[in-house]
């Protein structure tokens, strides 16, 4: 992780005055520069840069600017659930702090400084989570993971460093194929792994001791939004009585409450239509996310502690409604 300078501002990549500020470009640049950064963190970094550059005269003008930038960001980035989480959280954070300061300059300095703190904490959270999740991995465990999650990978790497001996099944995770990069990372660090196709989870689940899943977003009910295939794995794990742990940072808590696995903001509209002719990008237009409800999850390992599903809604309520 790149060290933060004393001034918590990253120099924004070629952006001019505030009105020429391209938030989406800034956001992408941040993501590209730092592969370790998650989407919500990059979003918040870009918003902090925006803050440092704007000259609002009133608090509501600031909130307005912020809201516009957030809408633009959400529109410009596909698959933006965790991004929404980060943005909403930042807006909330700004609103809270604005009320405390009369003078805008002092307020802005405070916000920018605290924005930086927030980023620092967000980056450190993955390590905190790994420490908290360590007791859940024991010698001789067979673990199943899905797709690619940096939080889960971090946890497994820490366990390996602490000399816990375990092995990992990884799902290929079509259509993105992200499971393969997970496998590579784990194998490079000396962890024995095996990649299986998504359809083989039913075959493998009985051989597995526990399942670790990352999350794009954690919903208000304690359920999670994650890469497609997560829901299936959760149902199989529940049926075979294998514990399923979700590993996620607290800034992924999002104000959504889907009612079913497909009840997500629409990003794969084609997947609900039927045609009598084959389409070229049929596989590519498969849905990329699904929702796993909280009754299938054993516990959530987050940087604010190991929570049950109702603990998540409690945290969310405390965060958002006061």
């Amino acid at each position: 992780m790149a060290p933060l300078e004393t001034s918590p501002l990253r120099s924004p990549p070629d952006s001019g005055a505030a009105d020429g500020f391209d938030i989406v470009a800034t956001y992408r640049k941040f993501l590209d520069e730092d592969p370790d950064m998650t989407m919500p963190v990059a979003a918040i970094e870009s918003l902090v840069v925006l803050l440092s550059q704007t000259e609002p005269t009133t608090a509501s003008e600031l909130m307005d600017t912020l809201a516009k930038a957030v809408t633009e960001l959400k529109k410009g980035v596909k698959n933006s659930i965790s991004l929404s989480a980060g943005c909403d959280m930042f807006q909330r954070f700004v609103l809270r702090n604005i009320q405390e300061y009369g003078d805008w300059e002092a307020c802005r300095r405070h916000l920018v400084k605290n924005g930086g703190l927030f980023l620092e904490r967000a980056k450190a959270s993955r390590y905190k989570i790994a420490e908290l999740g360590l007791p859940f991995i024991q010698d001789d465990d067979t673990i199943l993971i899905h797709s690619h999650s940096r939080a889960v990978t971090e946890l497994l790497l820490l366990a390996a460093r602490r000399h816990i001996r375990f092995r990992v099944y990884i799902t290929e995770s079509r259509p993105t194929g992200e499971g393969l990069s997970s496998a590579k990372t784990l194998r490079d660090n000396g962890i024995p792994a095996r990649v299986i196709v998504d359809g083989a989870v039913g075959w493998a689940i009985q051989k597995v001791d526990k399942v670790f899943i990352g999350a794009e977003g954690v919903a208000e009910s304690g359920g999670i939004i994650n890469r497609i295939g997560t829901y299936q794995i959760a149902v199989l794990a529940k049926d075979s009585n294998k514990p399923l742990y979700v590993v996620a940072e607290s800034h992924k808590f999002v104000r959504l409450f889907p009612l079913s696995p497909f009840d997500l903001p629409n990003e794969s509209p084609n997947a609900s239509t039927f045609t009598t002719e084959a389409e070229d990008d049929e596989i590519q237009s498969s849905p990329l996310l699904d929702f796993t409800s909280d009754n299938l999850i054993t516990a959530l390992i987050t940087d604010i502690g190991v929570l049950t599903s109702s603990g998540v809604s409690e945290e969310l309520i405390k965060m958002w409604y006061d």
Binding site: E220, L259, S260, S310, S313
Partner: protein, 471 residues
């Protein structure tokens, strides 16, 4: 001597207290003992007969034995009243024993059939499992104490006749009534408003309870009001105190009911999409508003209203929705499984939500929720935070409300009563009717509870109670 009393006549000490025992005793005892017993029996029978004839409307006396017993007890009554001595009783002793046997069987059936002034059954017609829920219900206000405000008298009758029905409606009506009570309240000499008004209100509330038990919303509102009264400062004049209390009640109604409803509607309406078929049970004011708002927004959907006897509250819901132009289907709960195949989601209202996430609502709700869950249909509950209760309850029996069993007898589908096959239920010795008003739905059947502080899973109800209702 005829005595009109609400309770069964007090039996003097020393006599056997149950009818069966008396009957047995009758057969065993000597003539002498039989005579005194006969006299007491006669008086009792006379009292009952008198009471029964007073309440002619509620008793059914088609049987000959009854008529016969009546005639005989009246004869006895006149004999007792004329102060005939033991001698004449002895003279009539032998015939008495025959008469007594019939009289005592008549008495037992009379007792079984007679009802208390306030309309609830005594003794045999109560269902054992729910005996702890029996209350004597009020049907008139003639015996009200002098300090009960007329607006409370009116409200009590409205509650008793189910004119004002529904958790939020009752709460709102009670608070409005209290506003009037507070306006007309004058602190008696020697005490302060903050101390005395609470007692005054408590007496009004005790009277209200005689119509129907308090709803959870009313309980929460009253608790809040009493708290507000207790912190009224000594320095403030009575006029100002009253003004401010009335103002506070107005704000409370606005915030906790009206605005809360609007927020819930905004939130819940997001779950209605084009082409949806939504199931609603009975009548809930909030759910109705959600549908009307969705209709206003131009969403194309239709509603299936499931209704139950004896109140047929769903009819009013259908009437209002249809008037707004919504496509509605109406079905009784017996037809539930038939309509469930096409349902997209279920919207339910609540009387209360308990601290363990259980939903306490109109009887039949649990059935609807369970059937929906079986078919993987999401169940959404809309309720204001004022309906949250700290209570924990594991079944529908420990706390509930009983309605009058005679309401089940009426099979009319409109306002003119039409007695059905059960109209003589009181004559049938082993038949009891149970009219229960609420039931408990376990949290696993509910997907989401929409309140004005946000949408939450049922497991998070204690959080809301802790954070928001800590008044």
């Amino acid at each position: 001597m005829p005595e009109a009393s609400a309770k069964p006549a007090a039996v003097p000490l020393g006599t056997q207290t149950t009818k069966a025992q008396q009957q047995k005793g009758k057969d065993k005892n000597s003539a002498g003992a039989q005579e005194t017993k006969a006299q007491r029996k006669a008086e009792k029978a006379a009292r009952r007969a008198a009471k029964v004839s007073e309440l002619g409307k509620s008793s059914h006396l088609p049987q000959e034995a009854i008529a016969q017993a009546r005639a005989q007890s009246q004869a006895k009554q006149s004999r007792a009243a004329s102060g005939t001595s033991n001698a004449s009783s002895v003279g009539g002793g032998s015939s008495n024993s025959v008469v007594n046997a019939t009289v005592s069987s008549a008495i037992s059936s009379l007792t079984a059939q007679s009802t208390a002034i306030h309309g609830s059954d005594i003794l045999d017609k109560r269902v054992g499992l729910f005996k702890h829920l029996e209350i004597t219900r009020r049907s008139g206000t003639a015996d009200a104490a002098k300090d009960i405000h007329p607006v409370i008298l009116a409200l009590t009758l409205q509650f008793a006749s189910y004119t004002v029905i529904g958790s939020s409606a009752r709460c709102r009506a009670t608070l409005r009534a209290f506003q009037t009570v507070i306006k007309d309240y004058r602190t008696p000499v020697g005490t302060t408003l903050s101390r005395n008004l609470t007692n005054h209100l408590s007496r009004q509330i005790d009277f209200l309870i005689t119509a129907r038990p308090l709803s959870i919303t009313m309980g929460n509102a009253i608790r809040w009001l009493k708290q507000e009264i207790s912190v009224v400062s000594i320095d403030v004049s009575d006029d100002q105190a009253r003004e401010s209390l009335i103002e506070k009640i107005e704000t409370y109604i606005r915030d906790k009911i009206e605005v809360a409803d609007r927020v819930i509607v905004q939130s819940a309406v997001k779950h209605i999409g084009n082409g949806d078929v939504i199931l609603a049970f009975s009548r809930s004011a909030v759910v109705e508003q959600v549908f009307l708002e969705a209709n206003l927004r131009g969403i194309e959907f239709s509603v299936v209203v499931v209704d139950t006897r004896p109140f047929y509250e769903g009819k009013e819901m259908v009437r209002r929705l249809a008037r707004a132009g919504l496509k509605c289907e109406y079905v009784l709960i017996s037809g539930l499984s038939y309509v469930l195949n096409d349902i997209t989601s279920v919207f339910l209202g609540a009387h209360a939500v308990l601290s363990n996430g259980q939903l306490y609502s109109r009887v039949g709700t649990a059935l609807v929720a369970m059937s929906a869950k079986r078919k993987n249909i999401p169940v959404i509950v809309c309720c204001e935070s004022i309906k949250f209760s700290n209570r924990v309850q594991l079944d529908s029996v420990t706390f509930n409300e009983l309605g009058s069993p005679d309401e089940l007898m009426n099979i009319s589908i409109d306002s003119t009563p039409k007695p059905g096959p059960l109209k003589n239920w009181r004559d049938l010795p082993n038949l009891k009717l149970l009219n229960i008003l609420y039931d408990l739905t376990p949290p696993e059947y509910i997907k989401k509870i929409v309140t004005e502080v946000g949408s939450l899973p049922p497991s998070s109800v204690p959080v809301i109670i802790r954070e928001y209702n800590s008044a």
